[in-house]
């Protein structure tokens, strides 16, 4: 068989499986033309640690940046220009000489504004105890607003036109203020100024074609179980977290072959509200997360045993995976981890019709009441029906073992 040209990396759980560390490893061990981000926004938090101990939480830059690999932010991204500037500053402090030189941005990508962020927090606070587990970054708000007000949604290309930019920013402020009351955000002119600088510092492009000339790594954000259509509604994200967007980008640009790599941890985690059938407070306490703490907006960090039922559902709804990356294998060595291959009530979560949120909500209710049946920790590849390409037993790229190649 011919070798796939690109690698698509998605998380088969609720996020935090270790996509960042796998993308970092891919970029360290083979030629990669660019890392392409194809979903989510500034709320991503992909932690990468270098062998010499430097650490960076990648949010909008691709996790291959410390190897000098450029990042392309595709049109499916929601970009937060101020947060991007702060992230670039940290990358510069870590020794990346000119972070913005490593960045191309699709002109169609949506921009998150301070009003989106303020509206997000206002709505989430109003939910009280029924929070959705939002990060409070306004990413979902940006997506929702763009659907409701397509003519006012700010896109990266608008920063090239000061008049359009100002008109849209005023429109966003007015629309959200009318709906929610006064929002805590700077004046439009100051936001426009920062956004124009963003448009100057990054290279705006009109397609992903230029980066797809060489092998690319597509870095997903969040996880399939948080998918806007496939996750446990309403504890989902406003983003398509499956391979769909990545494959759309590939199809638009010539349809190169790509390896579909699914990432899981040896245990299943969730940050924020929503079903986690295998949740185990003892495990949460035994396996604290160095870079994932209780978030003021997102809520608690939670850990549970390996939920093969949920991960199999993720594999199924994203159309299958060619290979798996299994992270935190060191935790499996040190702790008494178990596997859940079935729930007492069911052994398979049956996917509904795409777009049927009422069905997804029903799944949420079923899962909230489900009881896990445990076995000892066995083969992740067998549990999920796909070969394991790489295992990770530490944070840096040398802490990976490639089992299956030669990609």
């Amino acid at each position: 068989m011919t070798l796939p040209r690109h690698v698509l990396v998605v998380d088969l759980g609720y996020g935090d499986a270790g996509k960042g560390t796998i993308v970092d490893w891919l970029c360290a061990t083979r030629p990669v033309n660019a890392v392409i981000r194809f979903n989510g926004g500034a709320q991503a938090a992909h932690n990468v640690v270098t062998p010499d101990g430097r650490h960076h939480t990648f949010a909008q830059f691709g996790s291959g940046t410390l190897h000098g690999v450029p990042t392309h932010l595709s049109r499916f991204m929601m970009i937060d220009p101020p947060a991007l500037a702060a992230e670039a500053e940290h990358l510069a402090a870590l020794g990346v000489p000119a972070p913005f030189e490593l960045l191309t941005v699709d002109r169609q990508a949506l921009l998150t504004t301070p009003w989106h962020r303020a509206a997000n927090r206002r709505r989430e606070a109003a939910r009280g105890d029924d929070r959705h587990g939002s990060c409070g970054m306004g990413v979902g708000e940006t997506a929702a607003f763009a659907l409701a007000h397509p003519d006012l949604a700010v896109r990266a290309g608008d920063t090239e036109s000061p008049a359009t930019l100002a008109r849209k920013l005023c429109g966003i402020r007015d629309a959200l203020t009318a709906e929610l009351g006064p929002l805590d955000a700077p004046p439009v002119a100051d936001v426009a100024d920062a956004f124009r600088w963003f448009g100057t510092a990054v290279r705006l492009v009109s397609s992903a074609r230029h980066v797809l000339e060489g092998p690319c790594v597509f870095e997903g954000a969040q996880g399939v179980l948080l998918d806007e259509w496939r996750g446990w509604h309403p504890y989902t994200t406003w983003s398509t977290t499956t391979f769909d967007n990545a494959e759309t980008l590939l199809a638009e640009n010539g349809g190169d072959d790509a390896l579909r790599l699914g990432v899981v941890r040896t245990y299943t985690t969730r940050h924020g509200a929503g079903p986690l059938v295998t949740e185990d407070p003892q495990l949460t306490a035994a396996l604290p997360e160095r870079h994932n703490a209780h978030g003021p907006w997102q809520g608690a960090w939670r850990a549970g045993h390996f939920d093969a039922v949920a991960h199999r559902y993720a594999v199924e709804v994203c159309g299958g995976v060619d290979a798996l990356a299994v992270t935190h294998t060191d935790a499996a060595d040190r702790h008494d981890l178990k596997m859940c291959l079935a729930y007492e009530q069911l052994d398979r979560i049956v996917p509904g019709e795409r777009g049927d949120l009422a069905y997804q909500e029903k799944l949420t209710q079923i899962l909230a009441a489900a009881t896990p049946v445990y076995t000892g920790f066995g083969s992740v590849g067998e549990a999920l029906g796909a070969p394991v390409m790489v295992t990770s037993h530490g944070p840096a790229y040398p802490d990976k073992t490639q089992l299956l190649g030669p990609w």
């Binding site: 609720y14 996020g15 937060d80 600088w197 510092a201």
Partner: protein, 322 residues
């Protein structure tokens, strides 16, 4: 998954972007590179093109070439930080249609490694990329001459402008503080551009050729070492007449270029242009007004004049503006 880790403060973000565009803009040079970036190497280039397209149906070519030797090394950095303003003025104020900007750098072919660097005509921020790739040599021969004539040769023979087919010309700004060599030398042309020419070409002759497709301006800023040097000013005045612009403050160079284009396109007069600058929040009005006063006050004469002094009978047709 979520972070919220990076600051979303718009004020500090604007400052960070500003700082980043200032420091990273010349990453090629600042990283210690000592050779011309491939993208800017004129050797073997057939043409640099300014083309009309669906998106840009009436391209206005604007070439900006600057001396990067000695004290002039700060010009490209200044240009880079002011570029959004230049573009903003050109487009917002309608000074010209569909501006396409090319950047280039001029050194000394007798002693520099990179005496000529020429980017592409770009209408988006890819021109920033070109600017960022320019090698800032910082040397210079010290004999008050740079290889401006070699740059003129390239621009005359290796650029193609759709504007000329529409009866328009492009704008070529040379920003410098020294004189050109007397003639274009075949050995330098072969070495740095790759063409074979049998005879040297006088600087006057190549300039005449260049002016078929460009209005050529020489901007001499005050920060430069030889500002006010009567010999150098007289030299350029002899070649370009009123198209020599003395600029007290390098910081006003983008506004000066924008207004010069606006005047050249008959899209504004000097007074309205200075009002536009003030409205756009520029404090460069006084400097620009002083620099462009000769152009602004003698626009009529410029339109109808025969060739500027120093041209002899090289060109039969008077300079006409559309």
């Amino acid at each position: 998954m979520g972070s919220g880790r990076w600051s979303t403060d718009v004020y500090s973000a604007a400052a960070k972007y500003r700082a980043a565009t200032g420091t990273s803009a010349f990453a090629h040079s600042d990283s210690g590179a000592r050779a011309v970036h491939d993208a800017l190497n004129p050797h073997g280039v057939t043409v640099r093109e300014s083309r009309d397209s669906d998106q840009h149906p009436q391209a206005t070519p604007i070439a900006i070439l600057f001396d990067v030797t000695g004290s002039m090394g700060s010009v490209p950095r200044m240009l880079q930080t002011k570029l959004p303003e230049l573009f903003g003025l050109l487009i917002r104020k309608g000074y010209c249609t569909d501006p396409q900007i090319l950047f280039g750098a001029i050194g000394d072919a007798t002693c520099d490694k990179a005496p000529l660097q020429i980017g592409q005509f770009e209408s988006d921020n890819r021109m920033d990329d070109d600017l960022g790739r320019i090698l800032l040599e910082g040397g210079g021969g010290g004999q008050r001459t740079e290889s401006y004539e070699l740059a003129m040769y390239f621009m005359a023979r290796h650029t193609a402008l759709d504007a000329t087919a529409r009866g328009r010309r492009g704008y070529l700004f040379i920003i410098g503080d020294e004189m050109a060599y007397r003639q274009v030398k075949p050995a330098e042309v072969r070495r740095f551009i790759g063409d074979t020419i049998t005879e040297p070409i006088s600087t006057e002759a190549i300039l005449a050729e260049l002016r078929r497709s460009y209005d050529v301006y020489f901007i001499m800023p005050a920060h430069a070492g030889h500002t006010g040097d009567p010999e150098i000013l007289a030299y350029w005045r002899g070649l370009l007449g009123q198209h020599v612009i003395e600029l007290d403050d390098l910081g006003a160079v983008c506004e000066t270029i924008a207004l010069t284009v606006g005047l050249g396109e008959d899209a504004t007069d000097l007074d309205s242009g200075l009002t536009d600058l003030a409205e756009a929040g520029s404090s460069a009005g006084a400097t620009v007004g002083k620099a462009l006063a000769p152009l602004g006050s003698s626009r009529g004469a410029l339109v109808r004049s025969a060739l500027p002094a120093g041209f002899g009978g090289d060109r039969a047709t008077p300079v006409t503006r559309l």
